[in-house]
């Protein structure tokens, strides 16, 4: 859920403590109340918004009236206001707090009817709320202590069977409802490994008892399904620690009704030190920062971002000159968090950073001279233009896409020729800056011979329908549907229906051998259905979380390709833009970029939305979105931190220090040492980023985490530094041998250049800067004290190559 920071965004740029003692407005949640049985209740929460964006839970102090009608009554239960039905009709609820008043509509129907409890709607939520069907308890695949429930309740029919009939006479006793084992275990009446889950007097226990007393009936068919969950307030900005905000959760059903499920949700926080949430849905603030509060009901998880700022903080957001639309969105978020971003980096840092990121090389000393000598105001933009036009830029993105598409040779499936053709196909499209939607449509709907139509190889790289559909979802949409293969995704919106509906798009792919035995023909078999493992009924193709398209006799993949790249589908554009963003900023707006899920929200929702929107509306011009990212102040920030942003590493308030990825590191190592690499199938001196086959590697690349491309996950590219990398650089042939082999020091000495110049040259080559005065003096002193000048200068080179400043982009 990308909730806009509507409330927080107000008056961001002049915030001082004490200025706004009284709130400027109030918000009432939920925004409308509908009561549809005598049992129905709705909790009301009132949130005050201050001029500086701070929010406050003023529910306890607010007055709630029925706007002149007698349709409902308000009860105070503790600090809460709970509305209960009295008579049918339509009216309004009036909420007053200080000078502010707000009305919300009220609808009451069937005020006097008390419908029977439903197993799915009234009883199943008890197991979720009680934690009974968690993965560590009865939700485990084999259950617990002889009793199994479906994980988070994905299989209500099965749960009904297991409770009522699986072990006849054991779990419920229709003649002794409260004595039933199901109840006694939950309330701790008998020993229970899971302990007491709720009190005997609680509403949860009461639901179980009443349902059993009614004969433990199963639901008639056509019971309404949960279609949505709304969590209120959508956001909050709490000042200081220990501030509380009550949440309200309302579930929406397919028959148009809704229910207050505040007491039935599971709550969690992704950042406990900043915001904690109690099982009752009360958020409490902690340290400064941002936390994401999640609520889960039925198969649906939603969340609200909560910002915590220090109490009485004097803060003025520092305005940076220039910048583009990206900076507006990043700044807005930083201002809300009271974080001052770092300043812009200097030219040398920018040159090295941009060159490494855009073309995977280091700037040459000559490029550096020219860039520093350029006095024009737009020299950074022009540098970016030059780099975007380089062939090496294409190489980087062909490599990135090859990873996402997992291009590699597979014996008997993808021969070297096919992998190379596929790689070349990709290379041509990226070199021509072909609109990404066109390229992906061509790929997803690819049929025919794998030599004639190379993108068809994608369907040879993974032949298992389920695995393939998982790969497509993760590579192109950033979604990990895997969990939903066996149960509804516990921390996301995906259900088994979504999973098998998505897999149904790939169910009819046929593969047969071509005339050349190495070639395969990918074709549409025109028949075959994907069956749901629980119901065994065929599942029609369905877009994840979306509609079921009419596929008729078409190749189902065409329908999918069109949906994926249609402007109505935000997932794909956002995902590709976020992949680009992650490459340049070292962290995704959603991180990891291929782990888009409700419980892993974007650190800046509006930014992600805008990235996707601009990318799609630019005609899927990849270079344009890259240009916008690199041109932003956000990209150009220094990695030096200040007091406010030193703890922030998710909101892009400073540059991230990133280890250079394996292929690029090998290439720049070769570049600075004047050495060449040889890879199979490529000429001597080819760069590591150009290698087509995921299986091709060497010790260096493997050590530094080159992906084998066997796994679709972006995490397969390992970026973390480790000991074997350090040892390989220190003792292995990576540095030592290349220094000698390239003969750079010897060549410079041969030119008769003094030590100072040689040291400067080495610093410029490796760091894109001259040494500081102190570095220079200390280096020269060491070199001149050494018995062997060549060896000493080579040692200096070796030391530079082994320094973090060389190994990292910063």
């Amino acid at each position: 859920m990308n909730r806009p920071f509507a409330a927080v965004a107000i008056l961001l740029f002049a915030m001082a403590p004490g200025l706004a003692a009284a709130p400027v407005s109030i918000e009432v949640f939920p925004p409308r109340v509908r009561l549809d049985s005598a049992r129905d209740r709705q909790r009301i929460v009132v949130q005050a918004v201050h001029a500086d964006g701070r929010t406050e839970d003023v529910t306890a102090a607010a007055a709630i009236e029925m706007g002149g009608t007698k349709l409902a009554a308000v009860e105070r239960i503790g600090e809460a206001h709970v509305v209960r039905p009295v008579a049918d009709g339509e009216g309004r609820i009036v909420v007053r707090h200080g000078p502010h008043a707000k009305e919300i509509p009220l609808v009451v129907v069937s005020a006097s009817s008390d419908p029977p409890l439903s197993f799915r709607l009234d009883v199943m939520p008890v197991f979720a709320r009680g934690g009974c069907n968690m993965g560590s308890c009865h939700g485990a695949a084999r259950g617990k202590d002889g009793f199994r429930l479906s994980l988070f309740g994905f299989d209500p029919a099965g749960d009904y069977e297991r409770i009522v009939r699986e072990f006849p006479g054991r779990r419920i006793d229709l003649g002794d409802p409260s004595g039933s084992l199901l109840v006694q275990k939950a309330i701790g009446g008998v020993p229970h490994t899971g302990g007491r889950r709720f009190e005997a007097t609680s509403d949860l226990a009461d639901r179980l008892v009443r349902w059993i007393a009614a004969g433990g009936p199963d639901d008639p068919s056509g019971i309404p399904a949960v279609i949505g969950l709304d969590l209120y307030p959508p956001t909050a900005l709490l000042e200081g620690d220990g501030r509380r905000q009550q949440l309200v959760a309302v579930a929406r059903f397919s028959d148009g009704t809704d229910r207050d499920v505040t007491d039935l949700c599971w709550y969690g926080s992704n950042n406990d030190p900043t915001v904690k949430v109690s099982p009752e849905g009360v958020v409490t603030s902690g340290n400064r920062g941002e936390g994401f509060i999640m609520a889960r009901y039925d198969a649906i998880t939603v969340g609200s971002p909560i910002v915590v700022i220090p109490k009485n903080l004097a803060f003025t957001y520092p305005q940076s000159p220039g910048g583009n639309w990206i900076d507006e969105l990043v700044d807005r978020k930083l201002a809300a968090l009271r974080i001052a971003p770092s300043g812009l980096c200097d030219d040398e840092t920018f040159l090295r950073r941009a060159t490494l990121d855009l073309i995977g090389m280091l700037p040459t000393p000559a490029e550096r001279e020219a860039f520093l000598a350029d006095g024009s105001a737009d020299k950074r933009e022009r540098l970016v233009e030059r780099l975007l036009a380089r062939k090496e830029f294409v190489d980087i993105w062909v490599m990135k896409w090859s990873e996402m598409l997992q291009i590699r040779t597979i014996g008997g499936q993808v021969p070297p020729k096919a992998a190379t053709l596929f790689h070349q196909w990709l290379d041509r499209r990226i070199a021509a800056n072909e609109p990404v939607d066109v390229m992906v449509r061509e790929l997803i709907s690819a049929s025919g011979g794998t030599f004639v139509n190379p993108p068809a190889n994608y369907y040879q790289l993974e032949r298992d329908t389920l695995k393939l559909s998982e790969n497509v979802a993760q590579a192109f949409l950033g979604m990990r549907l895997q969990c939903a293969q066996c149960h509804n995704h516990p921390f996301d919106r995906w259900t088994m229906d979504d999973y098998y509906g998505f897999a149904a798009f790939f169910r009819r792919i046929g593969r047969k051998q071509g005339a050349d035995p190495r070639e395969f023909i990918i074709h549409d078999t025109g028949s075959g259905e994907m069956n749901h493992p629980l119901t065994t009924a065929p599942v029609a193709p369905k877009f994840p979380g979306g509609e079921r398209p009419k596929v008729d006799d078409r190749d189902r993949r065409e329908a999918l390709a069109h949906w994926m790249t249609s402007p109505d589908n935000p997932w794909f554009a956002r995902h590709v833009a976020n992949v680009a963003w992650t490459h340049f900023l070292g962290r995704g707006v959603v991180h990891e970029p291929d782990d888009v899920r409700v419980s892993n929200p974007p650190s800046n929702g509006p930014l992600l939305d805008e990235l996707g929107k601009r990318f799609a509306s630019s005609g899927w011009d990849f270079r344009r979105i890259v240009r916008d990212i690199v041109a932003s102040n956000t990209y150009q920030r220094s990695c030096e931190v200040n007091e406010t942003n030193k703890l922030d590493d998710v909101n892009f308030s400073h540059a991230a220090v990133r280890r250079i990825r394996a292929e690029v590191l090998l290439d720049v190592l070769s570049q600075v040492t004047n050495t060449k690499n040889k890879f199979p199938g490529l000429p001597l001196g080819a760069r590591a980023v150009q290698v087509a086959d995921g299986r091709t590697t060497n010790y260096f690349l493997t050590t530094f985490g080159r992906a084998t491309r066997e796994d679709v996950c972006s995490c397969a590219v390992r970026m973390d530094p480790n000991l074997s990398q350090a040892l390989h650089m220190l003792n292995g042939d990576a540095a030592n041998q290349r220094i000698r082999e390239g003969g750079l020091v010897a060549a410079l000495m041969k030119e008769g250049r003094p030590d100072t110049e040689i040291v400067d040259e080495l610093f410029v080559r490796c760091y894109c800067r001259r040494p500081t005065e102190r570095e220079r003096i200390e280096t020269i002193v060491t070199v001149q004290a050494a018995p062997n000048r060549t060896a000493a200068l080579e040692d200096v080179f070796w030391a530079l190559l082994n320094s973090p400043e060389f190994l990292f982009n910063h």
Binding site: G146, K185, G215
Partner: protein
């Protein structure tokens, strides 16, 4: 089921010598008659490529080898052959699937082929029928002697009241006398098996009664149960005096299954603790423990002679143990679902196991080998009981109670139960079948004709309530009776009035009859007079001419 002395084996072999070949022309052969049927009707699934169910019917050797659930042809025993059962649609899975039965003449051919010894080709010898006989040895069947054992007059006061009865997982019929015991909450209900009348209650304050057994001599009643997830106990009563003799076992969960040896010295019990415990019935001390089960113990039963103990668990494991020392005697492999019941045939030669996999399996006591299996109740067999003649009755998740002939063919369906059938029991006179279900309903059926023979009250109310009800009924009836009396008086009066009216009317009628007679006579006289004078007139006219 250890290896017996050689002589026994030898005798068995002699007994099982090939049957004499029937008249050659009457017996169909596989090659000539049966294979064409298999090719036409079964070959599309049971061929060497598909081998559905592991069964290939394209050659004699493969057909005789059977499928993944064992042999399908029992030479000489058509009705006991799985193949015949499924193609004749007398057992699940019906074959061919989702189609009509194969034509009767084909079925007849298969029947005759199996009955004739499943001969491969003309001139070949019939295959010997399997050694194991399903005939019961009456000499070995232990039957209690003496007069029927019945309890004394018992209090009819129940332990508590509930809206609904408990699911019937404890049900036992006495082997000597019309006595029926049903497990309930904190009590055992005793019923008269003939009238289904309520005889009284044996209190079981230890919890719910989950399992019930009469001793082999019918003199003792054993109940196992307790409080789920908390405690378990076995209690033994003397039936004739209804006195509690002993309590044994100290489990941490309900006892789900328990039994007593024929010598009444040893109790076996088991439950969710996954351990079968053998306890001394005298002092409750643990004699031996079986820890081989991997899931809840759901069934235990001593052989009629008490020498062996059969046990089963929820994971589908079943074993036979020697009672003395609890040493393993046989591992009964094959059930694909939890074991729900185990039962020894009255002569102790055969053990039947019932399982959630829907099947009943019979095991030979001597060898520990499976003799037979069949699909009895789709989705799960729950309860099983033997008739002394080797027939079986079962119930299960399909809500049916069914009797089976000794060789496993379906004999009779006893009507539909309203809920999952859980337990069956047979009256000591073998006239009645009792079936208890998940809803707590206990129905009786006549074994001879399958007709319903009543439903027992399994949730009797407290005496106070019964009295209230009776008094209320009395008041109602009294009122009704008063009203009826009055109506009678009124009616009688009306009768008297009516009778008076009848008398008056009769009198009037008589008077009118007399009057009518008088007028008729007068009329006749007048008529005669008129005739005379007419004649006279006619005569005088004739004279004048």
């Amino acid at each position: 089921m250890r290896v017996r002395p050689l002589i026994v084996t030898a005798m068995a072999v002699i007994a099982s010598a090939p049957m004499s070949a029937p008249a050659a022309e009457a017996v169909p052969t596989f090659e000539e008659h049966v294979l064409p049927i298999f090719r036409e009707k079964c070959g599309s699934c049971h061929n060497p490529d598909k081998k559905q169910g592991g069964l290939d019917l394209t050659s004699y050797a493969l057909a005789m080898a059977g499928g993944s659930s064992g042999e399908v042809v029992a030479p000489g025993d058509a009705e006991g052959s799985t193949l015949w059962q499924v193609v004749s649609h007398s057992s699940e899975p019906k074959m061919p699937p989702e189609s009509d039965r194969i034509p009767q003449e084909m079925l007849d051919t298969i029947t005759k082929w199996i009955a004739g010894g499943a001969i491969e080709r003309a001139g070949a010898k019939p295959v010997a029928r399997k050694v194991v006989s399903l005939a019961v040895d009456p000499a070995k069947a232990i039957r209690p002697e003496g007069p029927a054992v019945m309890p004394p007059r018992l209090s009819l006061e129940v332990a508590g009241e509930a809206v609904r009865p408990m699911a019937i997982t404890g049900l036992a019929a006495s082997p000597n006398g019309p006595l029926l015991a049903v497990g309930g909450r904190r009590q055992v209900l005793l019923l008269d098996g003939s009238s289904l009348g309520f005889l009284g209650v044996l209190p079981f304050p230890e919890g719910d009664v989950k399992t019930l057994r009469f001793s082999r001599n019918a003199k003792l009643l054993l109940a196992g149960g307790g409080v789920a997830a908390k405690s378990g106990r076995v209690v033994i009563w003397d039936v004739a005096t209804a006195s509690r003799l002993t309590e044994v076992g100290d489990e941490f969960d309900q006892v789900l299954a328990a039994d007593l040896t024929a010598d009444q010295r040893t109790v076996a019990l088991g439950g969710p603790q996954k351990v079968v415990r053998l306890l001394s019935a005298e002092d409750g001390s643990i004699v031996a423990e079986v820890r081989r089960h991997t899931d809840w113990i759901t069934a235990v039963e001593f052989s009629p002679d008490g020498k062996l103990l059969a046990t089963g668990d929820r994971a589908g494991n079943a074993f036979v143990w020697e009672t003395r020392g609890a040493r393993e005697d046989a591992v009964l492999k094959g059930h694909g679902g939890g074991i729900t019941s185990v039962a020894w045939r009255p002569d102790g030669a055969v053990l039947a196991t019932a399982s959630e996999d829907g099947k009943v399996r019979l095991w030979d006591r001597r060898s520990g080998e499976k003799i037979k299996e069949w699909e009895a109740h789709p989705r799960g067999v729950q309860g099983i009981a033997w008739l002394p003649d080797g027939r079986l009755v079962t119930t299960g998740r399909d809500r049916k109670a069914v009797s089976w002939k000794p060789e496993g063919s379906r004999e009779r369906d006893f009507g539909q139960l309203p809920e999952i059938g859980l337990r069956v029991a047979i009256s000591s006179d073998q006239a009645r079948l009792f079936a208890g279900d998940l809803s707590g309903r206990l129905a009786a059926f006549s074994i001879a004709d399958g007709k319903p023979a009543g439903v027992a009250e399994t949730n009797p109310p407290k005496l106070r309530r019964r009295l209230e009800q009776a008094e209320k009924l009395l008041a109602e009836r009294a009122a009704a009776h008063g009203a009826a009396d009055e109506a009678l008086l009124r009616a009688r009066k009306e009768v008297e009035q009516a009778l008076a009216m009848v008398a008056a009317a009769e009198k009037a009628a008589k008077e009118r009859a007399e009057a009518a007679e008088k007028t008729r006579e007068e009329f006749t006289a007048a008529e005669a007079e008129a005739k005379r004078w007419r004649d006279e007139l006619e005569f005088s006219r004739a004279e004048r001419k």
